[in-house]
């Protein structure tokens, strides 16, 4: 599983915020024509049928957290088809073209695959106020733009562009663009008076089911250990495997990786300790690393035996409280909802169900009373 953080080395720095998102509205993004979610809590669990928009919601939140960082146009989780770039690069005789980018990455981001629309992600944050992120596609040629971080003007022969406009009380208006230059190289630049040195409003991490970066994992653990929180991660991981005696990041294999001591003669790479352990490690590391921010987890129950799910939720609850992290998780599992409720109680968990019908998108947010009634009487919530 990958932890994709907007705080990657080339991203703007995220300041640690307090407070949390209270509501969000997403329009024209993937299967979400217009979805409004109110009553967000500290730990939010989203249920709903396949294609109801659960994963798209998490991707939209990543988009918002990126605050217009244009590199998101080429990377997961926002650019869901980003794997095609690696595939093309690994295929002799193939090269990434504007068509590849437009058709595989960008067009699927727009609702109904309609590039004429405008993606909008707007939110109300308890401390930061109104936040908004708009994304539009345009086909431009011979456009003169001011590239702020290069200190001057430049004329670029652009083809398809994806333009971002982020607005908040903290940053003002930030504009950026993503495009392929005349050498078919992905470019992502801030434009106008925008400065890449601005701070992201809050850090974020998207904990997905895909494997990606040993480097990313090792870097995140290193950051957590630098903050002297390594033992917290270790203690939480013992929920999954009580044999675990230590974890560390090192480069003995030639690349930075996380290794664990489960009592063998040698350390074991995290990826070899089972999906559940790897998934838990990345989740708990993110909860500590993304202090004051938001962590998004898709299909949170995957990889965990049912017997450990309640304790996993307890650990999530403790860490989210201690580190001020707002959690957005999705699930298909009734058992997972029950475990979360058992661990967090009706005050700690907010359950939402997304629905996608002909009439449009809807979010049903359960009051604590309704959630109690549903679980006590075995009524369906998914």
């Amino acid at each position: 599983m990958a932890v994709t953080e907007v705080t990657a080395p080339d991203a703007p720095v995220a300041q640690q915020a307090s407070g949390m998102l209270e509501s969000v509205r997403i329009r024209n993004f993937r299967g979400l024509k217009d979805l409004q979610i109110k009553g967000l809590g500290r730990i939010n669990l989203f249920a709903g049928r396949n294609n109801s928009g659960k994963t798209a919601l998490l991707e939209a939140l990543s988009l918002l957290a990126g605050a217009g960082w244009p590199n998101l146009a080429f990377h997961r989780p926002v650019a869901r088809g980003a794997d095609v770039l690696a595939e093309v690069e690994n295929t002799p005789g193939s090269e990434v073209s504007a068509v590849t980018i437009r058709e595989s990455l960008w067009k699927p981001m727009f609702h109904g695959f309609d590039l004429r629309g405008r993606i909008a992600v707007e939110a109300q944050h308890s401390k930061l106020g109104n936040l908004s992120l708009f994304v539009e596609f345009a086909r431009k040629k011979n456009v003169e733009i001011t590239i702020g971080n290069l200190g001057g003007k430049s004329v670029a022969q652009l083809q398809d562009t994806l333009g971002f406009v982020y607005t908040s009380g903290e940053t003002g208006r930030v504009t950026s663009q993503a495009f392929l230059d005349d050498k078919s190289q992905p470019q992502a630049v801030y434009t106008g008076d925008s400065d890449a040195d601005f701070n992201l409003p809050f850090p974020s991490a998207h904990v997905s089911t895909r494997g990606l970066g040993h480097l990313q994992d090792a870097r995140s653990l290193g950051e957590v250990r630098r903050r002297k929180q390594g033992d917290r991660v270790l203690g939480a991981l013992r929920i999954i495997d009580p044999r675990l005696e230590s974890i560390e990041e090192n480069t003995s294999s030639g690349v930075p990786m996380i290794w664990g001591d489960i009592g063998f003669d040698e350390l074991v790479p995290l990826s070899a300790m089972g999906e559940g352990m790897a998934r838990a490690a990345r989740l708990f590391i993110a909860l500590i690393h993304i202090k004051g921010g938001i962590v998004m987890v898709d299909e949170i129950e995957n990889g965990f035996h049912h017997s450990v799910v309640p304790k996993v939720w307890e650990a999530i609850d403790e860490m989210s409280q201690e580190f001020g992290v707002q959690v957005f998780a999705t699930t298909h599992s009734y058992e997972c909802v029950e475990s979360a409720y058992e661990a967090l109680g009706e005050k700690g968990l907010v359950l939402h169900r997304l629905e996608s019908k002909e009439a449009g998108n809807r979010c049903v947010t359960y009051t604590s009373e309704a959630l109690r009634g549903a679980l006590r009487h075995n009524l369906e919530v998914r």
């Binding site: 009051t367 309704a370 109690r372 009634g373 549903a374 006590r376 369906e380």
Partner: protein, 215 residues
């Protein structure tokens, strides 16, 4: 715990406890009513949370056309009805103005406060009325006279339990006894229940005659 069934039928009957569930299930079988999904809300203190959760169920808006709620009056039928109204309001559901009258809306909602007619009492009150005049009932009167009648906290329940002890294969539950065929469900004492269920089940408009009498 088994996974939830979810909303499966357009007519929902929500009842207070397993006794009512078993009793009314048998009653509908006697009336040849089909297409009604019975759910047990567990107890009067649970109704508010139950209705809030039921109204939130994934298929509720699309499937449910009629909703009936049944609970005991206990000592105060008017208070019991008002309590149900509060729970309906909390769940954002249509609110009938009087018992046994449908509130129009989506879904249409009706409430039956047993024993009906605005009286205090419960399901057992109706059951007692159904065997009143039976020679066994006279014996029960004598039995109650023999013991300290004032010590009986719930005379109707006690009378039903006493009656059941005289039957073959007795079971203490009035609902299970209904499943066993112990009660005369055609008795006029149950007319209010019969009217309520008939109106509830017959009003659904779903194609395929769901919620109608089976032929």
């Amino acid at each position: 715990m088994p996974r939830p069934d979810g909303i499966t039928l357009p007519v929902q009957l929500v009842v207070e406890g397993n006794d009512q569930r078993n009793f009314l299930g048998k009653f509908m079988e006697r009336m040849s009513l089909t297409g009604v999904q019975i759910q047990n809300f567990g107890g009067v203190t649970e109704l508010r949370a139950f209705l809030a959760a039921l109204a939130n169920e994934p298929e509720f808006d699309d499937v449910v056309e009629r909703l009936g709620i049944v609970r005991d009056a206990e000592t105060n039928a008017e208070g019991a009805f008002e309590s149900v109204q509060h729970s309906l309001r909390n769940a954002g559901l249509p609110i009938p103005e009087r018992p046994e009258e449908f509130a129009k809306g989506q879904p249409a909602v009706s409430v039956l406060i047993l024993p009906g007619g605005g009286r205090a009492g419960m399901l057992e009150t109706l059951v007692c009325e159904s065997f009143a005049g039976d020679p066994v009932d006279d014996c029960i009167d004598e039995f109650f006279e023999c013991i300290d009648k004032g010590s009986i906290r719930n005379p109707d329940k006690a009378r039903v339990f006493a009656y059941l002890t005289t039957t073959s294969g007795p079971h203490h539950s009035v609902g299970v006894a209904a499943q066993q065929g112990q009660w005369d469900l055609d008795h006029p004492a149950f007319d209010a229940v019969r009217r309520f269920l008939d109106e509830l089940a017959s009003g659904a408009q779903t194609a395929g005659t769901l919620g109608a009498r089976s032929k």
